[in-house]
């Protein structure tokens, strides 16, 4: 009946050489604990989501509980880019510039429907999701999300930060799409595939 666990799932196998030692894992734990509890956000507020973000930072919801009370209005001292609100195409090079100015390690939260997908603004002027411009770690749904929703997203980001390993060299690499790869689909084909449904349901994620 499929209720018994298959044999291969009952055994745990590992390669000892590929594992980090006690010192490395403890150091990871310490570094991640420190990073996760002192994330400095760079607020990129363009619309009504920014109002909810302000409410989150204010005393009722008190973002300081999570070590985020210090809004970093300079990208060079920021850890998390919180994009709150819709991003028009005219702002696309600017948010990308801000992201490039942030030092590693850096994370990104896409707050709200517009930042994540373009939302209701499926028109000529608005970027259909900021993940077409910059990599996003956590998407917070809502229009706009309540402060509880944003805090949940921040906690999820903290979980992600706590699970990072210094030995994993690929974590902080910014990958460029490789046209020689078998999996590569050129942007024009993605647009063709998504053409009739180029909206918030089925997006054309084909940024160069």
């Amino acid at each position: 009946m499929g209720l018994t666990t298959p044999a291969e799932h009952r055994t745990v196998s590992y390669i000892p050489e590929s594992q980090e030692g006690w010192a490395a894992t403890r150091l990871d734990f310490l570094v991640n604990w420190a990073r996760a509890n002192s994330l400095w956000p760079m607020p990129f507020g363009t619309a009504c989501c920014a109002i909810e973000f302000m409410a989150t930072a204010a005393s009722d919801f008190d973002l300081a509980r999570f070590g985020m009370e210090r809004m970093s209005f300079s990208p060079r001292q920021a850890d998390v880019l919180i994009c709150a609100g819709r991003v028009p195409f005219k702002l696309a090079p600017i948010i990308r510039r801000i992201w490039q100015q942030m030092p590693q390690p850096k994370w990104c939260i896409s707050m709200g429907a517009c930042a994540s997908t373009g939302g209701m603004f499926d028109n000529y002027a608005v970027v259909q999701g900021i993940d077409t411009i910059i990599p996003v770690d956590v998407y917070v749904p809502g229009c706009p999300p309540r402060p509880e929703g944003l805090i949940y997203g921040i906690r999820m980001l903290q979980e992600k930060v706590k699970n990072e390993r210094a030995a994993d060299k690929g974590t902080r690499d910014e990958m460029e799409p490789d046209p020689s790869s078998q999996l590569y689909i050129p942007p024009s084909v993605i647009d063709e595939l998504g053409e009739p449904f180029g909206n918030s349901v089925n997006q054309t994620r084909s940024a160069p």
Binding site: F89, I94, R96, Y124, A125, P187, G198, S206
Partner: protein, 231 residues
């Protein structure tokens, strides 16, 4: 008191204070007296006058717009000193001409006047700029050019305002413009990201000293006497 009267304040203020009119009828409100004055001054250039919900709309000849605006601005009996809005309207009906709309306000006379000029289909989308008369027309005309493609003759710096300057897809508020734009999403994003944000907007701060030559005379006088600006 009548709706169109010079408002006096201070010692010469009347006993009765101006009050907002409570009931406004659709078509039967009295027209703004400036409309009649315009008809007398520019008889043939004024096409027709309508009063809708107490607001006077004057349809004028596009060729006479600048002369008319100059007169409305300068004449002591009109004194329309505030251009509060400038925009355009395109109707879904392909035969109806595009209208350019100016919203004028006379602060001393408490008057509001809406002026419309119709650009017939087939004609080039061009009209005289009123930048010489109202400096506030600067960005309004740029926005109108950006969204509708109407060229304002005599505007010193007619560039796009809302869309970026190398935007190639056309004029977004025209009826023949598709909602999602003409290009694919990837092409739109590629062109948008190719912009250099610092090409036009300098990261250096503009100080009062840099802009001294462009300041109004009274401000220059005050600054040259050593008045601090709070910088």
């Amino acid at each position: 008191m009548s709706r169109f009267e010079v408002v006096r304040t201070g010692a010469s203020a009347p006993d009765s204070q101006p009050a907002t009119q409570r009931t406004v009828s659709h078509r039967t409100e009295p027209a703004n007296p400036s409309a009649k004055a315009l008809q007398e001054k520019f008889s043939s250039a004024v096409k027709r006058v309508e009063v809708i919900w107490g607001e006077t709309v004057v349809y004028v000849d596009p060729a006479a717009v600048k002369q008319m605006m100059g007169w409305l601005h300068d004449d002591p009996s009109q004194r329309y000193d505030f251009l509060s809005d400038l925009t355009a309207v395109e109707y879904r009906d392909a035969e109806v001409p595009i209208e350019v709309v100016w919203h004028l306000r006379s602060l001393p006379y408490r008057r509001f006047l809406r002026i419309k000029a119709q650009i017939q289909k087939g004609q080039p989308l061009e009209i005289d700029s009123v930048y010489d008369i109202y400096r506030s027309a600067d960005w309004l005309e740029r926005e109108c050019y950006d969204m509708f493609g109407i060229r304002f003759r005599g505007h010193p710096d007619l560039r796009r305002l809302l869309m970026w300057e190398s935007y190639k897809e056309g004029f977004p508020l025209r009826k023949d413009f598709p909602l999602r734009g003409r290009f694919s999403r990837s092409e739109q994003l590629r062109q948008a990201l190719a912009q250099n944000p610092e090409a036009r907007y300098s990261m250096e701060e503009l100080t009062i000293a840099d802009a001294f030559a462009e300041l109004p005379t009274d401000m220059r006088d005050r600054l040259s006497k050593g008045e601090r600006t709070g910088e």
